[in-house]
Symmetry: none
Subunit: 191 residues, 4 copies
Amino acid sequence: MARTRSEDARQRILDAALRRARAEGYGKLTIDAIAAEAGVGKQTVYRWWRSRAEVVLEALRENARTIPWDEKGNLEADLRAFLRATFRYASGKESTAPVLRGLMAEAQLDPAFLPHFRVFIEERRQILRQLLLRYASKASEVTVDMIFGAMWYRMLVGHGKLDVRFADTLALLAARQVLCPDRSETLCSKR
Amino acid sequence: MARTRSEDARQRILDAALRRARAEGYGKLTIDAIAAEAGVGKQTVYRWWRSRAEVVLEALRENARTIPWDEKGNLEADLRAFLRATFRYASGKESTAPVLRGLMAEAQLDPAFLPHFRVFIEERRQILRQLLLRYASKASEVTVDMIFGAMWYRMLVGHGKLDVRFADTLALLAARQVLCPDRSETLCSKR
Amino acid sequence: MARTRSEDARQRILDAALRRARAEGYGKLTIDAIAAEAGVGKQTVYRWWRSRAEVVLEALRENARTIPWDEKGNLEADLRAFLRATFRYASGKESTAPVLRGLMAEAQLDPAFLPHFRVFIEERRQILRQLLLRYASKASEVTVDMIFGAMWYRMLVGHGKLDVRFADTLALLAARQVLCPDRSETLCSKR
Amino acid sequence: MARTRSEDARQRILDAALRRARAEGYGKLTIDAIAAEAGVGKQTVYRWWRSRAEVVLEALRENARTIPWDEKGNLEADLRAFLRATFRYASGKESTAPVLRGLMAEAQLDPAFLPHFRVFIEERRQILRQLLLRYASKASEVTVDMIFGAMWYRMLVGHGKLDVRFADTLALLAARQVLCPDRSETLCSKR
DNA sequence: AGCTAACCGAGACGGTACGTCCCGTCTTGCA
DNA sequence: TGCAAGACGGGACGTACCGTCTCGGTTAGCT
């Protein structure tokens, strides 16, 4: 019965949010600035999103092209391709990594945002989980944690780059972990 | 010639900061509140620290008892002990995890804080690195990333607990990864 | 062309406006609230009136029963009756005074409303003017100003009540002023 | 012990408030604009005043030069002089009248402001009351209401000017009313 | 033993962003 | 096809904290 939501305003808000988050850093992003840049009243932002984090998350989702990678026929190669593509997406010239870091930060500071962020994270986990399942009878959640954990850890702490070398090493170690005979470690003694 | 720094004020500030960070969440922590709770002027906080994050980091360092763990004689067991102890520290009744999450968040939003936090992180990495070096001729940085990465990832996203089961699985997989013969994965074909 | 509903909506709007103005005070009255309470779209309010003030003014006019008073045969008595009736209207249980105060306020803040309000005021002046003309060859506009001025002044500032005593004193003084020989004051010397 | 209130900021706020109230009309005055023009944070305004009305009232008090008038030796002449001076103050080139009208309006819309405004009004009443007491054994509060009431009524409704003619007529009628023998009106019959 | 400079608690300051309220206009879909 | 419903762009509100500054009072440690 009432006027319907303006898809135009929605797009302008999402665009403005992502543009400014990339330009000035997520930390400097403000709702005021998003609304101003989108040419929108602040209320129109608050009507549909609860916080800058939710706006940016939705913008990112909208924006995120599915990352494609070639299937190579063995676990390590596939992982390598997947991680290379993923890292390229994060570190590319559109620099998504800083935005992701901002969202992860917000998820820590704003309890209301964490569940939304968790859903986003789970979507990515699912992709990796299915990749692993092609080669292992059952994928360990912990393996997923280790792969994505390593990626996020580097991205957040910044002690190492998300480059091809890291992708390849990660792929190698993860594959070795998955495919290794279960008790091989018992053969090893302390040096 | 001049009056010297008040050690008493310093302690009260650190205590107040950690107490309130634990009580109300790091996100709700403000310098005003720290100063008020410590019975201290705001200037006294700003005279010695640059931000709430630095106060809390120092408080955490002061507070952190070194985590001891028994040495078991093989990599997996040692890792298991180390991780169990670490998780117990984070998730224990003093709930340090939320504070750590807050600091990680701040490191993303405040570029000036990131280097300080990175030092803190590096200290922990060094401990784990040396543990690994007891069993492997050279420890892969990526293995460290995967272990701590998995831990932080779970802590930050909250999709799984930092419990004994997780510690044990992580230890198992990490050990397997380290000790597995290098090319074992080539034996595996796609399912 | 379905104007059938219009008159109904008009009445509901006027009723809602006056009801809420009396209930919560004119200052808290909003167009949104009027429309909601009337079960009407905001546009329907704006179609017929320019502001909340015009709605309330019209509601008041609609509502205002002509104040009757007995004619007594001399100026003071007539004034007394007129003022008693007027004050009773303003201060009565329906408490019109607060609404009148609100309209006077709006007339100060909204230049577009002032002319409308002035017409309303002039209507009341005309009644008093004609009362005076029954006893004086020509009624002084200033006398009207003094009588209604005193009333409004008390109503607005609230330093005294609009009670019977005030009505009577006002009637006495006004009558004295009107009927007094013109130069009587020259006989008086400073005390 | 703490930093003391800045007299400089206080003056800048009062000046800015009065300047803008006069320039753009009291109705268009905003706290934001006052703070901006004064070069002050909004909080500094709110720390010392509750609303724009209180700021403007204080500014007016600070600014109001005592209105002097010559004493003439009889009531009518004195009143004439007093009212002429008062009207000149209100209607003069600094146009205080619009500001006074704004304050009167605010007193109607903001219950918290009314008491403050009443004090201001009472101060003016006291001056007039004492003028009357020079010529009458006891000054009627109602006479004061009628004189100031007439002035405010004209100022607010704007149906007539606050000019010399009005001042003189008001003085004449008020004097007549005060000095007239009490029962003179009984001599008059209805026309 | 007294000076004096730096520190102390307190909190006012100029400022930014918040999230809310309401304005007056515009748009939709139902009756 | 007129109207209720309510989304829209906009502007001001009053609040919360930021990081800096000023205040009077308190100590140390050098003369």
